[in-house]
Amino acid sequence: MATLLRAALRPLRPPPGHRGPAAGKWRRREGGLGRPAPLTAALFFFFSFFLSFFFFFLPVDVLLRGARHGAGQLYPEHIPTSLLQKVLLAAGSAGMALYDPYRHDMVAVLGETTGLHALKVLRDQMKRDPEGAQILQERPRILLSTLDLDKLHSLPEGSLGQEYLRFLDVNRVSPDTRAPTRFVDDEELAYVIQRYREVHDMLHTLLGMPTNMLGEIVVKWFEAVQTGLPMCILGALFGPIRLHTQGLQVLVSELIPWAVQNGRRAPCVFNLYYERRWEQPLRALREELGITDPPMLVRALA
């Protein structure tokens, strides 16, 4: 009887003698800020799930509406989601984005699920401006297929087109790696957030920031002031958690005040029809927007 019980219990334990370096999920990985154990991430997620049960003062119908009857696909790639799903997605993607900063898709999902109000404000701002209204009407996309690379190469040195190409080369990024919008339940707002993502690279060029962690945080601060998107605000506030103290010092003392100043001074950067301004010299564009040169330190990194 005892052997039967032992034999029955044995499948629940790993076989003896398995102590190789590949085994053991509790082994901490070397280098950099250690990641929290998967257990913490799981606890974070399930805590937010159970917390959302306190939303039950909202009728369950409101929580679940949108995913069952009626809410069809408004645009290709659209996935209709209920309020509960949006809450869970927002919490989960925020946690995952902090846990693994390389998950850019999580940052995108966070932006889509939390940005409804800010996107509406941004869209209205764009509608009021003539150039912005044109963008909303014509819906241009910045993709490798729509960019005329030869023409951009042939532009004079110092123009927006040239600087943008240089930025793509130096940082080894491509405009095609942006994920399509999925969780925004309005077709025009889905385009607005897509445009925001494509203009993000333009902002890197305008501000002269590289795509490392520091540069991204600076651009996030600028965007947070300009758009008020919760994802930008959260990224601006929590992004520095993953920086080392040296970068943090530079960030707080020089870069953030500069980014915030410029963000408040500049008009809405999403009203610019960048596709028609490739020939414009970058310096002139910066003057038009009131963007001063970045502090010397970060330019050395770019």
Partner: protein, 327 residues
């Protein structure tokens, strides 16, 4: 094999029609079922015979295989992590229960179909190894008058810690098999394990080869379930056992509502956050709803020629283990 095949197809269509009338949440198909006189109904059934379900979508049968392959190809890397997250680790208990029901002994030949990442196979090997060790100990204790040299020789002569058992893991998806092989290598499983790429509807094995055939959480992804069951009947030895662990219908209405809420609201979100793939996990929960309930699946197993078919619902019907014998 034309006659039994068309019979199976016919009965499959009939069951699908009755299932459709039960779950009215398929707007696309409702219009094509006029439910008029018998002649009209049979005609439309024939036309729909080449179409099947992929979650709540309707696709052609040729398409379904490819789409399912694509789903598992993209989830393979995070398959085990997602299983733990989605079921809160309970899937381990379900798989353990399947093994305890199986009660393999040293010498059993197991075929684990759709066993991609090897969970059932590893548990089987552990179980058989433990059984074998227990048998050895009992033998030693029975022979009380052995000298030390004889005991040492007995241990040294031991070549097969599994006592002749073997498990063949068969899966249609290369990625899942790859992950399974990596896991086996990491955990040190070598002896008695074989990995075969094959289709459950057309197994690459001879007749009457295996003692036990298991399929855990795989049969609902097969395009023609009846063909898979017939293949299972073919490759089993007379006296062999068929075991299927699969998601099924929940019998308790309150738990059913909570389960639906969890399935449709939380699981795709988990899939998106952890694996970056919403659509695969949406397919997963929809395919669970499309699978026949316990009694119906039991009848399908009986149709394939198995006898003494029983089922046991676990966790109030979230999963069920169906068992049948080839006699």
């Amino acid at each position: 094999m034309a006659a039994p095949r068309s019979c199976a197809l016919w009965s499959y269509c009939g069951r699908r029609w009755s299932r459709l009338m039960r779950c009215c949440e398929l707007p696309g198909l409702r219009s094509s079922w006029p439910g008029g006189p018998l002649g009209a109904r049979q005609l439309s059934q024939e036309k729909q015979a080449t179409e099947t379900h992929f979650g709540f979508e309707t696709v052609s049968e040729e398409e379904k295989g490819g789409k399912v392959y694509h789903v598992f190809e993209s989830v393979a890397k995070k398959y085990d992590v997602m299983n733990d997250m989605m079921s809160l680790g309970i899937h381990r208990i379900w798989k353990d229960l399947l093994l305890w029901k199986m009660r393999p002994f040293p010498g059993t030949q197991l075929l684990d179909v759709a066993g991609g990442t090897g969970d059932i196979a590893f548990r089987f090997l552990n179980y058989v190894r433990a059984q074998h060790k227990g048998k050895q100990k009992r033998q030693l204790r029975a022979q009380q008058n052995l000298s030390w040299e004889e005991i040492a020789k007995k241990y040294q002569n031991e070549e097969d810690p599994l006592g002749g058992s073997q498990v063949v893991v068969c899966d249609i998806n290369k990625e899942m098999l790859k992950i399974g092989k990596q896991k086996a290598h990491a955990r040190g499983y070598k002896a008695g394990l074989a990995w075969v790429l094959g289709d459950a509807e057309e197994l690459p094995f001879d007749d009457d080869k295996f003692d036990v055939y298991t399929i855990a959480f795989g049969i609902r992804n097969v395009t023609h379930i009846d063909q898979a069951l017939q293949e299972a009947h073919r490759v089993l030895k007379p006296g062999g056992r068929f075991l299927c662990l699969e998601f099924s219908q929940v019998n308790n209405p309150l738990i059913s509502r909570l389960y639906d809420l969890y399935s449709f609201q939380v699981i795709p979100v988990l899939g998106e956050v952890i694996a970056g793939d919403w659509k695969s996990y949406q397919y997963l929960v929809e395919s669970i709803r499309q699978f026949p309930p316990q009694e119906e699946f039991k009848e399908m197993i009986e149709d394939a020629g198995f006898e003494k078919v029983t089922y046991e619902s676990l966790t109030s019907g979230i999963v069920a283990i169906h068992s049948g014998f080839k006699l």
